[in-house]
């Protein structure tokens, strides 16, 4: 039985760009157009049956000169098979939009809000894409590499 990421590559040859299993974490890089298809597939296929979206986050590759700049990283888990799988999708800064997974896993709702808040990546079709940890008036997206860690924000106190 081939590993999950190899099976996924065989099933979706168009959608999977790259696979690896570094340190035993099976990983597949998905084309953005196939993001929902791949997600739906690993949720429904009996060999995968990933019923838990454990984590969803992003990485800003600016300092490493990644092309495209951002990667959205999702960790899935299947309680049935006790298997884990990591899916990634790369997005350009100018067109930082990824289709939302909220309709498939409700846990994506807050994870995606946090990614929007921290990285400024939009999620297409998200029902409620507000900032999560930061406040509405916050300027910028703090986990981007070009946001300096000691950057000050304008004071917003109550308006009279």
């Amino acid at each position: 039985m081939p590993n999950l990421h190899e099976q996924l590559k065989a099933k979706l040859p168009q959608g999977v760009l790259e696979i690896h299993a570094q340190h035993g974490d099976e990983t597949a890089l998905i084309r953005r157009e196939a993001w929902i298809d791949a997600a739906l597939f690993i949720r429904e296929d009996p060999a995968f049956h990933m019923n838990v979206l454990m984590d969803l986050t992003a990485v800003d590759g600016r300092d490493l000169k990644w092309k495209p700049r951002f990667e959205v990283v999702a960790h899935f888990y299947s309680t049935e098979h006790n298997q884990r799988l990591r899916l990634k999708v790369a997005v350009e800064e100018k067109d930082a939009v990824v289709p939302t997974l909220t309709n498939l896993w409700p846990s994506a709702n807050w994870f995606e809000r946090e990614v929007w808040d921290m990285f400024g990546i939009r999620f297409d079709g998200h029902p409620d894409l507000r900032r999560l940890l930061m406040y509405t008036e916050f300027k910028g997206h703090p986990l981007r590499k070009d946001y300096l860690w000691n950057k000050r924000q304008p004071l917003i106190g109550p308006k009279n």
Binding site: H23, M54, T57, V73, P106, L133, L143
Partner: protein, 463 residues
């Protein structure tokens, strides 16, 4: 539709009956802020509830009041500098965060710690888990008026905090784990004091169990309140006792055993209703299972010298430095230095038991740092900016079972001495995200016990 003025002029005997009044009365829902200043919200979360009478029809949760930019700050320093920050994630069980982070970095390195260090990590994790559950159950019981239970549990937690203090030198911000092992060995006589503290804690748990578990008031407030189904819990990625109360026996210690958890015999308590009462029972039972793991770990832990043989082969560290400064190195050649345990809590012989020998990853013992140039250089290359430990390029996700559920660290390394990205998967984040669903349909008074059973820890929720 409002009551018409004509209704008020009617003779009492001809007043419309209650049903008509209800039909004609205009109703609208009311918005009520619970928190962030409300004591039951721990001062750091705000729930905006929409009420119909006393019933919660909708809720929105606002978090972020305790955001301290953990993930951003972790990218600014070296790998070892992240360890103190992890103490402040879940500050009720900081040891588990420490160990989880170090395990993730070790995964990047492909490192294995020594057997003894693995057992020490298991013992300390389980002690932490119990302190977390004690706080959660105690505090949520107090919020329902059971103040005695709170005091008993905080007293029990004190026994365990004393143990943690004797090992790590601190009660809360312990920074005990190291990449490649732990900071120091267990102190002499720890086994006896630990088993003694467990017995005392068991007694307190038994007392609280007698006070609460069959207490009519307590049970009525918890049973069939804050229910969530198995499917919803999984869809919201809820883990830990919260998920297990719905009947799913998912526990990282069993599903993906790390350290030496596969060598212990322990049960995973599960509930069936997914309500607050089942979560309370799960937590109470998990504490007993943690004690069982600790007891088995003490049976299995490989022996290693805990104290140095002091037959003239040791010398105080500062004396050794003075000797070396004066060039009398023949005096110190075959001598091991001993330093004040409060400085770093370790001596060289112990260090070999609790740290890997891999010099790329683990700090040398302090005696070497102070006593010879190789040790000093090794230490320098580990901790100075621009010289820190350098895991190979790549990414790794490591889940451990935190007290609230799956605590995962996802680390991306670019091959330099600074982590490129550190992501924490905070266990209570997903539970708080599901709160609107859980609260819906319950009354306002039920918000407090439900929120208590979430065991929301601001440090890990907001990071």
């Amino acid at each position: 539709m409002a009551l018409t003025p004509a209704d008020n002029q009617l003779h009492p005997a001809t007043l419309p009956d209650q049903e008509t009044v209800i039909k004609r009365t205009r109703t609208e829902s009311m918005l009520l802020n619970v928190g962030p200043q409300h004591p039951a919200m721990h001062g750091i979360v705000r729930i905006i509830t929409e009420l119909d009478g006393e019933e919660v029809v909708n809720a929105d949760v606002e978090i972020g009041y305790l955001h301290r930019a953990f993930e951003k700050m972790a990218e600014q320093g070296g790998y070892l500098q992240v360890i103190p920050y992890t103490d402040r994630l879940n500050y009720v069980s900081p040891l588990i965060n420490n160990i989880g982070y170090c395990l993730a970095v070790e995964k990047l390195f492909g490192l294995e710690t020594t057997e003894r260090a693995k057992y020490i990590r298991v013992i300390m994790s389980e002690i932490s888990r119990v302190t977390d559950h004690l706080t959660c159950v105690g505090a949520s019981a107090m919020e329902l008026g059971a103040f005695t239970a709170f005091l008993y549990f905080i007293k029990a937690r004190e026994y365990l905090y004393e143990l943690i203090e004797s090992v790590t030198g601190a009660r809360l911000t312990i920074s005990y784990a190291r990449v490649g092992g732990v900071k120091g060995d267990l102190p002499p006589g720890f086994r006896e004091s630990c088993l003694g503290a467990i017995e005392k804690t068991r007694k307190e748990i038994k007392e609280v169990d007698a006070l609460l578990t069959k207490n009519r008031i307590f049970v009525d407030r918890l049973k069939n309140v804050g229910c969530i189904s198995k499917e919803d819990a999984l869809a919201y990625a809820i883990t830990g006792p919260f998920l297990r109360s719905t009947g799913v026996d998912y526990d990282v210690r069993r599903a993906n055993p790390y350290l030496v958890y596969d060598r212990f015999d322990f049960e995973i308590p599960v509930g069936e209703h997914g309500d607050n009462f089942d979560r309370y029972l799960c937590r109470m039972e998990e504490m007993e299972q943690s004690f069982r793991i600790i007891e088995q770990a003490f049976e299995q832990i490989p022996e290693g010298p805990v104290l140095l043989d002091t037959d003239g082969t040791v010398m105080p560290g500062e004396a050794m430095v003075d000797e070396a400064k004066m060039g009398r190195i023949e005096n110190i050649r075959n001598v091991e230095a001993v330093i004040d345990p409060t400085l770093d809590g370790t001596t060289k012989v112990q260090y070999r038991n609790v740290e890997t020998v891999n010099k790329r990853a683990s700090l040398p013992p302090k005696e070497d740092t102070y006593g010879n140039i190789e040790g000093l250089m090794n230490h320098f290359k580990m901790v100075m900016m621009g010289h820190g430990i350098r895991p190979p390029k790549g990414e790794a996700y490591f889940p451990v079972e935190g007290a609230n559920g799956e605590l995962g660290f996802y680390i991306v390394s670019d091959g330099t001495d600074k982590p490129y990205r550190v992501r924490v998967r905070p266990p209570c984040f997903t539970i708080v995200a599901a709160l609107p669903l859980i609260l819906k349909g319950d009354s306002l008074a039920d918000v407090v016990p439900t929120f208590g059973s979430v065991n929301m820890i601001g440090g890990e929720l907001d990071r």
